[in-house]
Symmetry: C2
Subunit: 209 residues, 2 copies
Amino acid sequence: MKKKLSIPTITRLCMVFQQCDELQIMGILRVSSTQLGKAIGVPAHTIRKDINCLGEVGDTGSGYDVARLKAHLRRALGFDQIRRACIVGLGRLGSALMDYEKFGASGFSVVAGFDSSVNRIETMQTRMPVYPAYDMKEVIQREAIELALLAVPAPVAQATADVLVASGIRGIVNFCPVVINVPETQVQVRNINVINEMRVLSSLMTLGE
Amino acid sequence: MKKKLSIPTITRLCMVFQQCDELQIMGILRVSSTQLGKAIGVPAHTIRKDINCLGEVGDTGSGYDVARLKAHLRRALGFDQIRRACIVGLGRLGSALMDYEKFGASGFSVVAGFDSSVNRIETMQTRMPVYPAYDMKEVIQREAIELALLAVPAPVAQATADVLVASGIRGIVNFCPVVINVPETQVQVRNINVINEMRVLSSLMTLGE
DNA sequence: GCTAATATGTGATTTTTTTCACGGAACAGC
DNA sequence: GCTGTTCCGTGAAAAAAATCACATATTAGC
Ligand SMILES: NC(=O)c1ccc[n+]([C@@H]2O[C@H](COP(=O)([O-])OP(=O)(O)OC[C@H]3O[C@@H](n4cnc5c(N)ncnc54)[C@H](O)[C@@H]3O)[C@@H](O)[C@H]2O)c1
Ligand SMILES: NC(=O)c1ccc[n+]([C@@H]2O[C@H](COP(=O)([O-])OP(=O)(O)OC[C@H]3O[C@@H](n4cnc5c(N)ncnc54)[C@H](O)[C@@H]3O)[C@@H](O)[C@H]2O)c1
């Protein structure tokens, strides 16, 4: 029974995929919705509903075959395709991301970094090619980069995003604490806002007592 | 008309608070739900509903008085209290966070860093005090630290979180790509999972075409 | 002082998302 | 081969969240 996937469902399914990967590495062949739910932090029936959106793939009575589930998710969510990504803004956060080793094993290939400071570009020592910001459009198109991790100072976030959009980027993970406007049919955005998460925690602490 | 606040509402209200701050710095005295909505990326009526959960604070016809709205949010969400925070795991990500300058202006005081590598502790040059991981409980209690930013390797995330809980921490921003289990009545957790955000983007790109 | 445009607050409505409940299937232990 | 347990799939119900619609208030322009 295939259905349109909602964002919460997609988010959870991505986590299920990750979990399948880990189970496979551990040599585990089968898994139940209960186990998956525990690993992901949601109830079992939510997992079942989510997985069901992609059609039947589990075995009633026994659980899910890890390999089969993973293959199913891979196809449905498009993980068979390696996505090329870049990091824009190679300051403190951008540098940390450049060295982050999990991208490769997760199906992402980070192939470029950009910074507006030529001095910074020249003094950085890194395995990955880094370019001045004014080459962004050219490099993104030449290298067929689809995703960008945006870690520039907040005041230039929108202008930088505009360049990314003009370069034909398809998705942006925005670490800057501002909302960026993009043509939403062409480009997807996910925001990561550390300060706001801390504020939410602080509010929950206040409200919860 | 006061109501219980849902997580989505709290999240947006925190962003509204941030926005009020910026408007105030720009010397802007009044703001409408339409403007706020645009800045935050949600429709105007959502903003109005959210703000209304805290009781009436706007003026029908003209919009909201920025100062009054901010004061209202501050009280309701508990932002009048400065929250003390620490960073656990001073690797690439943790170091970036240590140098992040926005905490102070946002009502957070980051007063300690922890790492299990004594060598790392000793060679780090930083304004902020850093401690070996085995002093975590003592320092957190002595310094009355309420929040932790967790940036340790994923395999030790749960064990580290356990120590944080035992130390009496109230909230955790978890950057590790694993779910951590904590007693949910005592401790709040917000997860930031970069890889998963990228996967979601990738899925949306696949599904959207 | 009149009009058009712009505001908020909020009950009602719609949509989305989660949760429940249970039929039917496999399995482990005995 | 029987029994109690575990498990998936799924329609139905419930809960939560978003959206609409409009009464009512303010402001700006003229
Ligand atoms: N440091 C953190 O831990 C942290 C945490 C959360 C969010 N953020 C956000 O991430 C962003 C970057 O933070 P940071 O601490 O790394 O800042 P940073 O100042 O260390 O680095 C910013 C980098 O962007 C470069 N840059 C400036 N304009 C640019 C442009 N137009 N194009 C390309 N590169 C440009 C600068 O040269 C610099 O190297 C900020 O928006 C910040 O709010 C940072
Ligand atoms: N680097 C990134 O850009 C990035 C991005 C997103 C998420 N993350 C996640 O953040 C976490 C840290 O990533 P990183 O790249 O900074 O790793 P890292 O290896 O550079 O740093 C980890 C640090 O944690 C310390 N550590 C190890 N065990 C500890 C313990 N028990 N108590 C305290 N400190 C301990 C290590 O000494 C090290 O300094 C990882 O879970 C990673 O998946 C990193």
